[in-house]
Subunit: 396 residues, 2 copies
């Protein structure tokens, strides 16, 4: 699906306003989600966006596909040293201050830009990019709703295929395959350096409570020391909570959701904790209103869990493995702004999309929790984008 010209023009104008406010004369963008966002193509391109005027989309590979995919004009980039030439040919000045994505750009590549633009002062433009991308347009929200619908179909399929004796990786394989057959894009993009992600955490019983390198409350045990997150090769057992924490990405837009399934009934205590998780999710959803500061919402939720439940020490991980957030922005990347996290200063705005994920971790037993992707709308609280039933799914 092509990103419409009116959508790209809207994104350009907002970004140029941010550039002008930050006194940045132009931004040269290379990170894939950023270039997809501003150009409409996920091919290998550099996008130069002046503080006013048209963007220059320079495609290295594949040029012809980029040309057919982007609504902007696309030029063929013969090498990075030619970038100044394209800027001049577009009638634009070489800026004195240029923005780069210094949060992700490797040092050696940065040094090449310094040689290509010897008189330019470079600044980090990633805060402007990330803040803009946090707020989704109507067109983007429609894409997120499509992803959510496919996610719901995958969860329905999970109930069909789940059976005693299957392994976590088998279940993951079936769900990932189903998602792909419905249009899942495959690779789930993350902005953070050296982030690794594959499908999600399909994890059950005690293994779900094992912590790992991934910055999440529930990450799964993985199949080996070399791949220490996600599904393991262990069999799924009767009466254990099965965490299906998956990201569905369709047309680039990600929906992050967690549901608990089980084969046979869960213990009364786990069922009670699940009801608590749903309550906490409602608290988070209702607290996500425009004008509030993300870090204050986080503290409010932590306080509520401490004062109203006996599970404070199990909330969002256990012991030293607890994470300090209850939600994170999602969109073209899995790790977008805002994070509903300790000390987060972002002011919430309508159109921000957040995966909220209260989870309770019981070492040796398992995890119960829930996660949904929501959009911030007004003072009534955020609205669900996720369309799946929020009931426990118990298969006999």
């Amino acid at each position: 699906m092509k990103v419409p010209m009116i959508e790209l023009e809207g994104r350009l104008l907002i970004f140029q306003d941010l550039l002008q406010k930050s006194r940045i004369e132009g931004a040269l963008l290379v990170q894939r989600a950023d270039t997809l966002y501003y150009s409409g193509t996920a091919q290998n391109v550099h996008v130069y966006i002046p503080a006013s005027g048209k963007p220059i989309v320079m495609a290295y590979r594949d040029f012809l596909r980029a040309k057919s995919e982007s609504s902007w004009e696309v030029v063929q980039l013969q090498g990075m040293s030619k970038i100044p030439k394209y800027i001049k040919e577009a009638g634009l000045p070489i800026p004195e201050i240029m923005g780069l994505e210094l949060d992700v750009l490797p040092v050696n590549q940065f040094e090449r830009y310094r040689k290509i633009f010897p008189d330019v002062k470079f600044v980090d433009v990633s805060p402007e990019v990330r803040l803009q991308r946090a707020v989704k347009s109507k067109w983007e929200l429609a894409r997120l709703e499509e992803s959510a619908q496919i996610h719901t179909l995958v969860l329905e399929f999970a109930k069909e295929v789940l059976h005693e004796g299957m392994t976590e990786v088998e279940l993951e394989g079936l769900l990932a395959g189903k998602a792909r057959s419905l249009g899942h894009g495959g690779h789930v993009r993350m902005r953070g350096f050296d982030s690794e992600f594959h499908v999600g955490a399909i994890t059950s019983g005690a293994r779900a409570a094992v912590s790992s390198c991934f910055d999440g409350a529930v990450t799964g045990q993985g199949v080996s020391i070399a791949h220490p997150t996600g599904a393991s090769m262990a069999q799924i057992k009767l009466g254990e909570p099965i965490v299906v924490d998956m990201v569905t990405v369709v047309h680039g837009y990600q929906v992050d959701q967690t549901r608990i399934l089980s084969l046979g009934s869960l213990s009364k205590e786990l069922r009670e904790v699940y009801e608590v998780a749903k309550q906490v999710e409602e608290k988070i959803r209702r607290a996500l209103v425009p004008g509030r500061v993300a870090g204050e919402v986080y503290e409010e939720i932590l306080t509520w869990v401490r004062e109203n439940t006996p599970y404070e020490e199990n909330f969002m991980g256990y012991g030293s493995s607890r994470v300090r957030f209850v939600g994170h922005g999602v969109g073209l990347d899995l790790d977008e702004l805002p994070t509903i996290s300790k000390g987060a200063k972002e002011v919430l705005k309508p159109g921000m999309v957040v995966a909220i994920e209260p989870k309770f971790v019981f070492p040796g037993f398992g995890v119960v929790g829930i996660e949904d992707t929501v959009v911030i709308v007004d003072e009534e609280g955020a609205k669900y984008i996720s369309s799946s039933s929020r009931e426990l799914s118990i298969q006999s």
Copy 2:
């Protein structure tokens, strides 16, 4: 599978020799494949390696798992600013010249190290790391052989499940699921900035000949503009070549292989081209001998294809989309050294592992080719690590 102490000690000594030759007093490593290689854990760690003495493995998350996984002692990292403290506590000097992975390290993270080590001069240590990692130990070769065996099982499974009317993504889902159930690690690591990879290119007919952002001869069309590589949602048709280009990663080690399947017979011409591809693969395999320069092997192969086949313009892509390599190193990352590519200066050594991949691309029709992972041994030519049949797989 834990990396044995004797293996880690061997890696350490070789690296320290390289550091001493480059007059680097210590290296601080953070890229996941590098830290896994030198520490034995894939948790979130910093590894400081002095030019002589023991390495310091500093785990941020998950500390307890890192401690149980690494054969080295592991300390808990409370924050990056504490790194100098750990170096001093180990009785080591703060070096005057410190190596960092400047090929991958983001600028903002680099700036943090500059603040933490205000008097240190930083240099790029990635050439030393990459050259060492290119040469595999016996222990690593045994892991690669395990990956190859699982890859062969997945290809056998492909022949069982392939049927008329299935889509490319359906086939991919089944193969990826099977691979996972046999221990595939999921995420396929790549070192290159913003590289994206998911399973491989399961692609058929004309779609296999479509180029994309991925730097490969055959990349697949993908499911959308936002995900423009890999399998598409199109149905697999009778008589069309089906490219199964997949990476299998087990215990961290990757085997990259391509086989051609079809439902019903392929045309005589495509079958002839496939025989040519096998001949070219043999040429490459026999040319990979210790002491030769990678770029010279590349030129020799290109010359042979030009002089001995009518398919020069279809070799390794078509038109402006042709890639300039016929092989690439594989191991913990998919994009390791050496590349058998235009101008490549690496001198081949015993123990280097290379995926060799002659492919012929016919726009509008499809792709035939082959790819195997091999190890350089002696003047007899490289030895196959891949264990799958190299015959065309034609299903009725």
